[in-house]
Amino acid sequence: MMDTLLLSRIQFAANISFHILFPTITIALGWMLLFFKLRFNRTGEERWMDAYRFWVKVFALSFAMGVVSGITMSFQFGTNWPGFMESVGNIAGPLLAYEVLTAFFLEAVFLGIMLFGFRRVPGWAHTAATFLVAFGTTMSAFWIIVLNSWMHTPQGFEMRDGVAYATDWAAIIFNPSMPYRLVHMLLASGLTVAFLIAGISAFRWILGDRGAEVRTTLRTGLITAAALIPLQILAGDMHGLNTLEHQPAKVAAMEGNWETGPNVPLVLFAVPNEETRSNDFEIGIPNGASLILKHSPDGVVPGLNDFVTDDGEVLHPRVAPVFYGFRVMVGTGFAMLALSWGTLALMARRKPGATGSWLQTRRGIDALPRPVFWIAMVMTFSGWVATLAGWYVTEIGRQPWLVSGVLPTEAAVAEVPSGMVLSTLLAYLAVYAALTLAYIGALVHLARKAAGKTKAETYAPAAHNLQPAE
């Protein structure tokens, strides 16, 4: 039988992994819906409203999944990790309370109006509700990222008898890793949604849907992805440098670097071995890590062996999950770069024999070869892959600390019999697996239904939607 600590960690990881999938979608999708609505308000073109109507369903479904799994998270602190609140509750508590007060209610209340209030409130109020929901989800993310970043780079407090007391709230909120983590996460959400929209639109295209709506969303998704991915690479690099400054052990694990020193290679592939404390099968670019992290080939990069005490206690995270997670995240990012920029380049080609302005003679979506749609479809959930991998890198990378340097993970765990943790873990896993499949199934169903619609039905006049409530 595994011990309560390990099972509780697996349970928390399972819960947060499932939960994070849905806010990652709703944060950016909320803004995307606002964009669709504003474009519709301005142009009056039905394609924007059709896009709104299709994607608001995906939003509602994702939001419900996020809410119910988020409630689970809020109880997990008490059931599995009571030591967390007992030790740092004076800081974590207010941050969580502000999330509920400023964001959670806002989203939940205006979601009702956004989803079902179309004919009951004037058009401007419906647009305002859409904005408030998008704003609420982003505020929610802000507070959670503040707390999470503080757990990585804690400051603005003092310890008295093992309990943290806040001394400087500005320092707590604007802790050193917060801005980087927030930007990285918001961009991750934007990319996840860009690929989701592009992927599902590509799926509808493959099913034979060539309507104005699907062309609009496919273009929007691909252009958004192409715009965000370079920003994300830049933000990720800056986040990495920030981590190097504050959590060098995490970066050492990401790089798979055991010994501190200059001229450290950039390890492309390896099998980290904690027994021999070295990498097997290593393939690397000489001086690469020194160049990236220190911008100089003989820059000194910290190694994992610095984080082992003289009596053999290991104070760095387990290397393999951090090391592989980082490679999965970066690899997915480069695949995103390739697809979005490749597609854009293909779309920007001129029509053969056309004359005139380049903007008007681009071939657009019709220029895309068929495999591109298939690749886009396969990459529908690539944002999830990269987000989860990145999340594992940063969270497992914080171990063995729950709050870096303040609270060891093992000190916070509940004294609950391991059998109870195991049985609830299995129940959660069963529910989560079933729901994830049902969610993807429902998206496929919605896409097929939309693609199967006749043209007449899709473009039937929907002017009544513009009218205020009678």
């Binding site: 479904l61 119910v68 409630i71 689970t72 008490g78 007992e86 007060l101 109006i113 806040a166």
Partner: protein, 337 residues
Amino acid sequence: MMTLFGDPEVWLPATFAALMGLSILIYVVLDGFDLGVGLLSPLATEEERDRMVASIGPFWDANETWLVLAIGLLLVAFPTAHGQILSTLYLPVAVMLIGLILRGVAFEFRVKAPVTQKRNWDWAFFAGSAMASLSQGYMLGAYVLGLAPGPLTWAFATLTAIFLTVAYSFIGATWLIYKAEGRLQQKAVDWAKGGIWGILGGLGAVSIASPLASPRVFEKWFSFPEVVLLAPMPLGFALIATLLVLALRHLPTKDDSWAWFPFSATIALFCLAFVGLAYSFYPYVVPDQLTIYEAAAAPESLAIILAGTVFVLPVILGYTAIAYTVFRGKATALSYD
């Protein structure tokens, strides 16, 4: 008591206990009626079920948020207590969470998944509502008996689990009397007629068990002059319950007047019962073990949250009222158009 407003270490925990109590009460009323609608859903036809779901569709999410606020305040304001309470109630909490997950996603899936799966999601909607209601009732019972393990607690908690589920069904039925019309409204009246005996029995059981289980609670209710001063509470309860029974006999009326009464009266009953429980347990957050003063977090942290709460809570109540106004009137099938 005399130093209530002098010392922040006294009035801050008391204020937060009141805020937490308020959110639990709002939660029990609001999610109570929508969980109740879920519990009653198998008794309806498919078309009626669509209208029942539509009557709570715009609200359930915000209703559930009060639970998050309540648990948030518990872990924020009373960090020592929350670990003790939640790790003792580990399994019922897990059952409740899985129930809330199933109920919450069923709303969306029943209309977005292929039609052939609608029945399964309707079933999940009912099962989730039942799991959440039963486990909340179980936790209430265990809490009333001071979270002491043993067969007596399990038996009593099982009893309160059933009673709270009936009480939720009852308030759900009264909500439907208010929001439905025609055949469904008539059905809701019939459901309420059956449910009222469950809710009265349940409250009776808790009222008898709490003083018997705790000499301190007995002392608080049955010593002089408290017994006289508190008399309006049981009397008020009896009055409202009588009016409710009478009203249910005459509903639905031809012009649909008084359809609002059973729901409002039930809210009053819930409030009275809640005040009674709160009076019994004050100043304890874990009954007979840990007071709110012993369990409270640092005053500076509580002050930070209070500042925000005082400002934000009225705003939340305000826009909640707007939402209920927007969706006033009889429920019809929900659509995104």
